[in-house]
Amino acid sequence: MNVSAPLKASDFKSDLKPVWCPGCGDYHVLLSLTKALADLERKPEEVAVISGIGCSSRIPAYLKCYGFHGVHGRSLPLGTGLKVARPDMTVIVAGGDGDGFSIGGNHFLHACRRNIDLTYIVMDNRVYGMTKGQPSPTTEPDWDSALSPGGTGLNPFHPLVIALASGANFVARAFSGDIRGTTKLISDAVNHPGFSFIQILSPCVTFRPEQKEWKSAIHAPPVEATDDPARAARRIMTDDGFNVGVLYRGDRRPYKIGDGVEHKTVADLEQEFQI
Protein backbone atom coordinates (compact mmCIF):
# COMPACT_ATOMS: atom_id res chain seq x y z
CA MET A 1 0.00 0.00 0.00
CA ASN A 2 1.49 3.32 -1.01
CA VAL A 3 1.76 5.44 2.10
CA SER A 4 1.38 8.72 0.31
CA ALA A 5 -1.75 7.87 -1.67
CA PRO A 6 -4.88 8.80 0.26
CA LEU A 7 -6.90 5.75 1.26
CA LYS A 8 -10.19 5.06 -0.43
CA ALA A 9 -13.29 3.67 1.21
CA SER A 10 -12.58 0.30 -0.33
CA ASP A 11 -9.23 0.23 1.43
CA PHE A 12 -11.17 -0.15 4.66
CA LYS A 13 -13.06 -3.21 3.53
CA SER A 14 -11.80 -6.65 4.40
CA ASP A 15 -11.96 -9.62 2.07
CA LEU A 16 -14.53 -11.37 4.18
CA LYS A 17 -17.95 -11.48 2.57
CA PRO A 18 -20.83 -10.49 4.84
CA VAL A 19 -23.36 -13.13 5.81
CA TRP A 20 -26.08 -10.48 5.87
CA CYS A 21 -29.20 -10.96 3.81
CA PRO A 22 -28.98 -9.12 0.51
CA GLY A 23 -30.98 -5.92 0.91
CA CYS A 24 -30.12 -5.58 4.60
CA GLY A 25 -29.54 -2.00 5.71
CA ASP A 26 -26.31 -3.00 7.37
CA TYR A 27 -24.56 -3.17 3.99
CA HIS A 28 -25.20 0.54 3.67
CA VAL A 29 -23.84 1.20 7.10
CA LEU A 30 -20.70 -0.73 6.25
CA LEU A 31 -20.31 1.38 3.15
CA SER A 32 -20.88 4.67 4.97
CA LEU A 33 -18.43 3.66 7.65
CA THR A 34 -15.69 2.92 5.16
CA LYS A 35 -16.36 6.20 3.40
CA ALA A 36 -16.26 8.11 6.66
CA LEU A 37 -12.98 6.49 7.65
CA ALA A 38 -11.50 7.42 4.30
CA ASP A 39 -12.78 10.98 4.71
CA LEU A 40 -11.32 11.10 8.20
CA GLU A 41 -7.96 10.11 6.74
CA ARG A 42 -7.43 7.49 9.39
CA LYS A 43 -5.16 4.56 8.75
CA PRO A 44 -6.92 1.21 9.14
CA GLU A 45 -4.56 0.14 11.90
CA GLU A 46 -5.37 3.25 13.93
CA VAL A 47 -9.04 2.38 14.09
CA ALA A 48 -10.69 -0.30 16.20
CA VAL A 49 -14.29 -1.33 15.64
CA ILE A 50 -15.85 -3.12 18.57
CA SER A 51 -19.17 -4.92 18.63
CA GLY A 52 -21.40 -7.35 20.49
CA ILE A 53 -23.55 -10.10 19.02
CA GLY A 54 -26.23 -9.79 16.37
CA CYS A 55 -26.36 -9.46 12.61
CA SER A 56 -25.20 -5.86 12.83
CA SER A 57 -22.48 -6.79 15.30
CA ARG A 58 -20.78 -8.81 12.61
CA ILE A 59 -19.49 -5.56 11.11
CA PRO A 60 -15.92 -5.49 12.52
CA ALA A 61 -14.74 -8.47 10.50
CA TYR A 62 -15.91 -6.81 7.30
CA LEU A 63 -13.54 -3.95 7.86
CA LYS A 64 -9.79 -3.87 7.52
CA CYS A 65 -9.43 -2.17 10.89
CA TYR A 66 -8.68 -3.79 14.20
CA GLY A 67 -11.88 -5.41 15.40
CA PHE A 68 -13.38 -7.11 18.39
CA HIS A 69 -16.55 -9.16 18.12
CA GLY A 70 -17.28 -9.55 21.81
CA VAL A 71 -20.20 -11.07 23.65
CA HIS A 72 -23.80 -9.97 23.45
CA GLY A 73 -24.37 -6.53 24.92
CA ARG A 74 -20.88 -5.74 26.16
CA SER A 75 -19.32 -3.82 23.30
CA LEU A 76 -19.29 -0.46 25.07
CA PRO A 77 -17.23 -1.63 28.06
CA LEU A 78 -14.81 -3.29 25.64
CA GLY A 79 -14.53 -0.04 23.72
CA THR A 80 -14.22 1.98 26.92
CA GLY A 81 -11.36 -0.14 28.21
CA LEU A 82 -9.59 0.06 24.91
CA LYS A 83 -9.98 3.82 24.56
CA VAL A 84 -8.85 4.63 28.08
CA ALA A 85 -5.86 2.31 27.82
CA ARG A 86 -5.06 3.37 24.27
CA PRO A 87 -6.27 6.93 23.73
CA ASP A 88 -4.28 7.07 20.50
CA MET A 89 -6.70 4.68 18.80
CA THR A 90 -9.91 5.81 17.10
CA VAL A 91 -12.55 3.63 18.70
CA ILE A 92 -15.89 2.96 17.07
CA VAL A 93 -18.40 0.77 18.81
CA ALA A 94 -21.17 -0.69 16.69
CA GLY A 95 -24.07 -3.07 17.06
CA GLY A 96 -27.80 -3.61 17.06
CA ASP A 97 -30.79 -2.36 18.98
CA GLY A 98 -31.10 -5.62 20.90
CA ASP A 99 -27.43 -5.68 21.71
CA GLY A 100 -27.25 -2.03 22.63
CA PHE A 101 -30.62 -1.15 24.14
CA SER A 102 -31.81 -4.43 25.58
CA ILE A 103 -29.03 -6.52 27.11
CA GLY A 104 -26.53 -3.69 26.74
CA GLY A 105 -28.75 -0.92 28.10
CA ASN A 106 -26.81 -0.34 31.25
CA HIS A 107 -23.52 0.12 29.48
CA PHE A 108 -25.24 2.51 27.11
CA LEU A 109 -26.37 4.67 30.05
CA HIS A 110 -22.96 4.71 31.62
CA ALA A 111 -20.91 5.10 28.48
CA CYS A 112 -22.97 8.22 27.76
CA ARG A 113 -22.40 9.41 31.30
CA ARG A 114 -18.66 8.81 31.16
CA ASN A 115 -18.45 10.75 27.93
CA ILE A 116 -15.30 9.07 26.71
CA ASP A 117 -14.18 10.10 23.25
CA LEU A 118 -15.60 7.31 21.17
CA THR A 119 -18.38 6.86 18.65
CA TYR A 120 -21.26 4.48 19.18
CA ILE A 121 -23.31 3.39 16.19
CA VAL A 122 -26.51 1.43 16.66
CA MET A 123 -27.99 -0.17 13.58
CA ASP A 124 -31.58 -0.04 14.71
CA ASN A 125 -33.93 -2.37 12.88
CA ARG A 126 -36.36 -2.62 15.75
CA VAL A 127 -35.94 -6.36 15.91
CA TYR A 128 -33.58 -9.11 16.95
CA GLY A 129 -32.48 -10.23 13.52
CA MET A 130 -29.91 -12.82 14.44
CA THR A 131 -32.26 -14.84 16.62
CA LYS A 132 -35.10 -14.79 14.11
CA GLY A 133 -37.29 -11.90 14.86
CA GLN A 134 -38.12 -11.04 18.44
CA PRO A 135 -39.18 -7.55 19.50
CA SER A 136 -36.51 -5.18 20.81
CA PRO A 137 -36.89 -2.08 22.98
CA THR A 138 -37.52 0.04 19.89
CA THR A 139 -40.11 -2.27 18.34
CA GLU A 140 -43.62 -0.95 17.77
CA PRO A 141 -46.16 -2.21 20.32
CA ASP A 142 -48.34 -4.02 17.81
CA TRP A 143 -45.66 -5.93 15.92
CA ASP A 144 -46.64 -9.56 15.97
CA SER A 145 -44.05 -12.28 16.58
CA ALA A 146 -43.76 -15.76 17.97
CA LEU A 147 -42.40 -14.58 21.30
CA SER A 148 -44.97 -11.80 21.66
CA PRO A 149 -48.06 -12.98 19.83
CA GLY A 150 -50.15 -9.96 18.89
CA GLY A 151 -47.38 -7.56 19.84
CA THR A 152 -45.79 -6.57 23.12
CA GLY A 153 -48.19 -3.74 23.79
CA LEU A 154 -45.18 -1.76 25.00
CA ASN A 155 -44.24 1.66 23.78
CA PRO A 156 -40.81 1.74 22.22
CA PHE A 157 -38.44 3.83 24.27
CA HIS A 158 -36.32 6.79 23.25
CA PRO A 159 -32.64 5.90 23.03
CA LEU A 160 -31.68 9.36 21.87
CA VAL A 161 -33.30 11.00 24.89
CA ILE A 162 -31.74 8.45 27.16
CA ALA A 163 -28.38 9.32 25.66
CA LEU A 164 -29.04 12.97 26.37
CA ALA A 165 -30.22 12.39 29.91
CA SER A 166 -27.20 10.24 30.58
CA GLY A 167 -24.62 12.67 29.26
CA ALA A 168 -23.70 11.90 25.66
CA ASN A 169 -22.03 14.79 23.89
CA PHE A 170 -23.23 14.24 20.32
CA VAL A 171 -26.54 12.70 19.43
CA ALA A 172 -27.71 12.01 15.90
CA ARG A 173 -30.14 9.93 13.92
CA ALA A 174 -29.38 8.56 10.48
CA PHE A 175 -30.95 6.34 7.89
CA SER A 176 -28.79 3.62 6.41
CA GLY A 177 -30.06 4.21 2.86
CA ASP A 178 -28.86 7.80 3.03
CA ILE A 179 -25.24 6.97 2.47
CA ARG A 180 -23.93 10.46 2.05
CA GLY A 181 -25.77 11.73 5.11
CA THR A 182 -24.69 8.80 7.21
CA THR A 183 -21.09 9.11 6.10
CA LYS A 184 -21.07 12.75 7.09
CA LEU A 185 -22.71 12.04 10.46
CA ILE A 186 -20.18 9.34 11.25
CA SER A 187 -17.23 11.54 10.48
CA ASP A 188 -18.72 14.43 12.45
CA ALA A 189 -19.33 12.06 15.33
CA VAL A 190 -15.79 10.76 15.28
CA ASN A 191 -14.45 14.30 15.15
CA HIS A 192 -16.64 15.55 17.96
CA PRO A 193 -14.97 15.20 21.38
CA GLY A 194 -16.56 12.93 23.97
CA PHE A 195 -19.17 10.26 23.49
CA SER A 196 -21.03 10.41 20.20
CA PHE A 197 -24.12 8.35 19.59
CA ILE A 198 -25.71 7.71 16.22
CA GLN A 199 -28.90 5.75 15.90
CA ILE A 200 -28.95 4.51 12.32
CA LEU A 201 -32.30 3.25 11.15
CA SER A 202 -31.20 0.18 9.22
CA PRO A 203 -33.96 -2.02 7.78
CA CYS A 204 -34.13 -5.75 8.38
CA VAL A 205 -35.56 -6.98 5.11
CA THR A 206 -36.04 -10.49 6.38
CA PHE A 207 -38.04 -10.04 9.53
CA ARG A 208 -39.30 -6.52 9.03
CA PRO A 209 -39.78 -6.22 5.25
CA GLU A 210 -42.16 -3.34 5.85
CA GLN A 211 -39.14 -1.27 6.85
CA LYS A 212 -38.33 -0.85 3.17
CA GLU A 213 -40.87 1.95 3.41
CA TRP A 214 -38.61 3.90 5.73
CA LYS A 215 -36.92 5.34 2.69
CA SER A 216 -39.87 7.55 2.01
CA ALA A 217 -40.54 8.48 5.62
CA ILE A 218 -37.12 9.95 6.26
CA HIS A 219 -36.63 13.70 6.40
CA ALA A 220 -34.02 16.10 7.68
CA PRO A 221 -34.62 17.62 11.12
CA PRO A 222 -36.84 20.68 10.88
CA VAL A 223 -34.38 22.78 12.87
CA GLU A 224 -30.66 22.98 13.42
CA ALA A 225 -28.76 20.90 16.01
CA THR A 226 -28.96 22.45 19.43
CA ASP A 227 -26.44 22.50 22.24
CA ASP A 228 -29.14 22.60 24.90
CA PRO A 229 -29.79 19.02 26.03
CA ALA A 230 -33.14 19.83 27.60
CA ARG A 231 -34.38 21.38 24.39
CA ALA A 232 -33.01 18.52 22.34
CA ALA A 233 -34.68 15.99 24.61
CA ARG A 234 -38.03 17.64 24.27
CA ARG A 235 -37.71 17.86 20.51
CA ILE A 236 -36.81 14.23 20.15
CA MET A 237 -39.62 13.11 22.40
CA THR A 238 -42.10 14.84 20.19
CA ASP A 239 -40.69 14.17 16.73
CA ASP A 240 -41.88 11.37 14.48
CA GLY A 241 -38.74 9.28 14.77
CA PHE A 242 -37.76 9.80 11.16
CA ASN A 243 -35.89 13.06 11.09
CA VAL A 244 -32.25 12.43 10.45
CA GLY A 245 -29.26 14.59 11.25
CA VAL A 246 -27.40 15.88 14.27
CA LEU A 247 -29.89 16.46 17.08
CA TYR A 248 -27.53 17.57 19.80
CA ARG A 249 -23.96 18.75 19.75
CA GLY A 250 -22.68 19.61 23.20
CA ASP A 251 -19.56 20.59 24.97
CA ARG A 252 -19.95 18.52 28.07
CA ARG A 253 -16.69 17.78 29.84
CA PRO A 254 -15.12 14.65 28.40
CA TYR A 255 -13.71 11.84 30.52
CA LYS A 256 -10.30 12.56 31.95
CA ILE A 257 -7.89 9.89 30.90
CA GLY A 258 -4.58 9.71 32.82
CA ASP A 259 -1.69 11.56 31.25
CA GLY A 260 0.28 8.37 30.67
CA VAL A 261 3.29 9.81 32.42
CA GLU A 262 5.19 7.84 35.05
CA HIS A 263 5.16 10.32 37.92
CA LYS A 264 6.25 7.67 40.35
CA THR A 265 8.07 4.38 40.12
CA VAL A 266 6.74 1.18 41.61
CA ALA A 267 9.48 1.50 44.21
CA ASP A 268 8.05 4.87 45.21
CA LEU A 269 4.68 3.28 45.73
CA GLU A 270 6.19 0.66 47.99
CA GLN A 271 7.41 3.29 50.46
CA GLU A 272 4.11 3.39 52.29
CA PHE A 273 4.49 -0.17 53.51
CA GLN A 274 7.90 0.30 54.99
CA ILE A 275 7.96 0.22 58.74
Binding site: K8, A9, W20, G23, Y27, D39, I53, H72, I179, K184
Partner: protein
Protein backbone atom coordinates in the same frame (compact mmCIF):
# COMPACT_ATOMS: atom_id res chain seq x y z
CA UNK B 1 -32.40 13.71 2.15
CA UNK B 2 -29.07 15.37 1.99
CA UNK B 3 -29.21 15.97 -1.76
CA UNK B 4 -27.09 18.79 -2.99
CA UNK B 5 -27.99 19.43 -6.66
CA UNK B 6 -27.06 23.09 -6.70
CA UNK B 7 -23.36 22.55 -6.55
CA UNK B 8 -21.83 23.01 -9.92
CA UNK B 9 -18.91 21.14 -11.37
CA UNK B 10 -16.32 23.85 -11.82
CA UNK B 11 -13.32 22.30 -13.52
CA UNK B 12 -12.45 19.66 -16.01
CA UNK B 13 -10.46 17.81 -13.42
CA UNK B 14 -13.46 17.82 -11.16
CA UNK B 15 -15.63 16.45 -13.91
CA UNK B 16 -13.19 13.69 -14.66
CA UNK B 17 -12.85 12.95 -10.99
CA UNK B 18 -16.59 12.52 -10.78
CA UNK B 19 -16.74 10.45 -13.93
CA UNK B 20 -13.99 8.23 -12.67
CA UNK B 21 -15.54 7.94 -9.22
CA UNK B 22 -18.81 6.92 -10.83
CA UNK B 23 -17.14 4.00 -12.48
CA UNK B 24 -15.01 3.04 -9.50
CA UNK B 25 -17.95 3.12 -7.14
CA UNK B 26 -19.97 1.08 -9.59
CA UNK B 27 -17.22 -1.53 -9.73
CA UNK B 28 -17.20 -1.76 -5.94
CA UNK B 29 -20.94 -1.89 -5.86
CA UNK B 30 -21.26 -4.67 -8.39
CA UNK B 31 -18.60 -6.67 -6.64
CA UNK B 32 -20.39 -6.12 -3.38
CA UNK B 33 -23.54 -7.49 -4.93
CA UNK B 34 -21.58 -10.31 -6.50
CA UNK B 35 -20.22 -11.18 -3.07
CA UNK B 36 -23.71 -11.17 -1.62
CA UNK B 37 -24.96 -13.50 -4.29
CA UNK B 38 -22.01 -15.80 -3.84
CA UNK B 39 -22.51 -16.01 -0.12
CA UNK B 40 -26.18 -16.73 -0.72
CA UNK B 41 -25.50 -19.28 -3.41
CA UNK B 42 -27.18 -17.39 -6.21
CA UNK B 43 -24.40 -18.20 -8.62
CA UNK B 44 -26.13 -17.02 -11.76
CA UNK B 45 -26.51 -13.56 -10.34
CA UNK B 46 -23.06 -13.57 -8.88
CA UNK B 47 -21.70 -14.05 -12.36
CA UNK B 48 -23.95 -11.37 -13.79
CA UNK B 49 -22.78 -8.81 -11.25
CA UNK B 50 -19.16 -9.73 -11.87
CA UNK B 51 -19.77 -9.17 -15.59
CA UNK B 52 -21.30 -5.79 -14.91
CA UNK B 53 -18.31 -4.92 -12.76
CA UNK B 54 -16.09 -5.98 -15.65
CA UNK B 55 -17.82 -3.51 -17.95
CA UNK B 56 -17.35 -0.70 -15.52
CA UNK B 57 -13.71 -1.59 -15.10
CA UNK B 58 -13.16 -1.01 -18.78
CA UNK B 59 -14.78 2.41 -18.57
CA UNK B 60 -12.82 3.32 -15.54
CA UNK B 61 -9.61 2.48 -17.32
CA UNK B 62 -10.63 4.60 -20.28
CA UNK B 63 -11.42 7.60 -18.12
CA UNK B 64 -8.21 7.20 -16.22
CA UNK B 65 -6.30 7.19 -19.48
CA UNK B 66 -8.10 10.29 -20.62
CA UNK B 67 -7.41 12.04 -17.33
CA UNK B 68 -3.71 11.37 -17.62
CA UNK B 69 -2.81 14.94 -18.51
CA UNK B 70 -5.51 16.75 -16.62
CA UNK B 71 -5.16 14.79 -13.37
CA UNK B 72 -7.72 13.61 -10.86
CA UNK B 73 -8.60 15.32 -7.64
CA UNK B 74 -8.54 13.77 -4.15
CA UNK B 75 -12.03 14.42 -2.89
CA UNK B 76 -13.63 13.42 0.34
CA UNK B 77 -16.91 11.66 -0.03
CA UNK B 78 -18.71 14.79 1.15
CA UNK B 79 -17.00 16.90 -1.51
CA UNK B 80 -18.54 15.06 -4.41
CA UNK B 81 -21.34 16.90 -6.05
CA UNK B 82 -23.78 14.10 -6.46
CA UNK B 83 -27.40 15.00 -6.96
CA UNK B 84 -28.51 12.26 -4.60
CA UNK B 85 -27.35 10.56 -1.45
CA UNK B 86 -24.56 8.77 -3.24
CA UNK B 87 -22.99 8.47 -6.67
CA UNK B 88 -25.51 8.18 -9.48
CA UNK B 89 -24.39 5.05 -11.21
CA UNK B 90 -24.91 2.85 -8.23
CA UNK B 91 -27.17 -0.12 -8.04
CA UNK B 92 -29.47 0.26 -5.07
CA UNK B 93 -28.25 -2.12 -2.40
CA UNK B 94 -31.59 -2.25 -0.72
CA UNK B 95 -33.16 -3.77 -3.79
CA UNK B 96 -31.02 -6.88 -3.62
CA UNK B 97 -32.55 -10.19 -2.68
CA UNK B 98 -30.93 -13.58 -2.39
CA UNK B 99 -33.42 -15.09 -4.81
CA UNK B 100 -33.31 -12.22 -7.27
CA UNK B 101 -33.22 -13.00 -10.98
CA UNK B 102 -31.25 -11.43 -13.84
CA UNK B 103 -34.27 -9.25 -14.59
CA UNK B 104 -33.96 -7.64 -11.16
CA UNK B 105 -30.24 -7.11 -11.56
CA UNK B 106 -30.70 -5.54 -14.96
CA UNK B 107 -33.43 -3.29 -13.62
CA UNK B 108 -30.99 -2.14 -10.96
CA UNK B 109 -28.34 -1.55 -13.60
CA UNK B 110 -30.78 0.27 -15.83
CA UNK B 111 -31.73 2.68 -13.08
CA UNK B 112 -28.10 3.23 -12.28
CA UNK B 113 -27.12 3.94 -15.87
CA UNK B 114 -30.10 6.20 -16.30
CA UNK B 115 -29.12 8.17 -13.23
CA UNK B 116 -25.61 8.48 -14.57
CA UNK B 117 -27.00 9.71 -17.85
CA UNK B 118 -29.10 12.27 -16.00
CA UNK B 119 -26.11 13.38 -14.00
CA UNK B 120 -24.09 14.27 -17.05
CA UNK B 121 -27.16 15.57 -18.78
CA UNK B 122 -27.67 17.98 -15.93
CA UNK B 123 -24.07 19.16 -16.23
CA UNK B 124 -24.40 19.59 -19.95
CA UNK B 125 -27.47 21.72 -19.41
CA UNK B 126 -26.17 23.84 -16.58
CA UNK B 127 -22.45 24.23 -16.91
CA UNK B 128 -21.08 27.29 -18.64
CA UNK B 129 -17.51 26.26 -19.26
CA UNK B 130 -17.50 24.93 -22.87
CA UNK B 131 -14.66 22.51 -22.22
CA UNK B 132 -16.46 20.88 -19.31
CA UNK B 133 -19.64 20.86 -21.32
CA UNK B 134 -17.96 19.07 -24.20
CA UNK B 135 -16.56 16.36 -22.00
CA UNK B 136 -19.83 15.99 -20.15
CA UNK B 137 -21.58 15.49 -23.46
CA UNK B 138 -19.23 12.67 -24.27
CA UNK B 139 -19.83 10.99 -20.94
CA UNK B 140 -23.55 11.47 -21.42
CA UNK B 141 -23.44 9.71 -24.76
CA UNK B 142 -21.56 6.81 -23.28
CA UNK B 143 -24.12 6.43 -20.56
CA UNK B 144 -26.85 6.54 -23.17
CA UNK B 145 -25.17 3.63 -24.91
CA UNK B 146 -25.08 1.72 -21.65
CA UNK B 147 -28.74 2.31 -21.10
CA UNK B 148 -29.53 0.86 -24.52
CA UNK B 149 -27.26 -2.06 -23.85
CA UNK B 150 -28.99 -2.92 -20.58
CA UNK B 151 -32.38 -2.48 -22.23
CA UNK B 152 -31.39 -4.96 -24.86
CA UNK B 153 -30.26 -7.45 -22.24
CA UNK B 154 -33.55 -7.02 -20.47
CA UNK B 155 -35.39 -8.21 -23.50
CA UNK B 156 -33.67 -11.56 -23.13
CA UNK B 157 -34.36 -11.72 -19.40
CA UNK B 158 -38.06 -11.24 -18.81
CA UNK B 159 -39.62 -10.42 -15.48
CA UNK B 160 -40.07 -13.56 -13.38
CA UNK B 161 -43.57 -14.55 -12.31
CA UNK B 162 -44.82 -13.49 -8.90
CA UNK B 163 -43.54 -15.64 -6.11
CA UNK B 164 -39.96 -15.57 -7.33
CA UNK B 165 -38.83 -14.62 -3.82
CA UNK B 166 -40.76 -17.38 -2.08
CA UNK B 167 -38.65 -19.55 0.13
CA UNK B 168 -40.35 -22.59 1.61
CA UNK B 169 -37.82 -22.79 4.38
CA UNK B 170 -37.87 -20.50 7.38
CA UNK B 171 -34.89 -18.30 8.17
CA UNK B 172 -32.13 -19.80 10.27
CA UNK B 173 -31.45 -18.98 13.87
CA UNK B 174 -27.83 -18.02 14.31
CA UNK B 175 -25.91 -16.71 17.28
Amino acid sequence: MSANPDNEISSLSELLTHAYAIEEDAIDRYHMLGDQMEVHNNHELAKLFRDLAGHEEKHAAEIKARAETIGLMNLKSSEYKWPDTEGPELAALDEAHYRMTPWHALQMALKAETRAFEFFDHIVNTVTDPEIKKWAEEFREEEAEHVTLVERLLEKNPEPPAGWADDDDPPNLQE
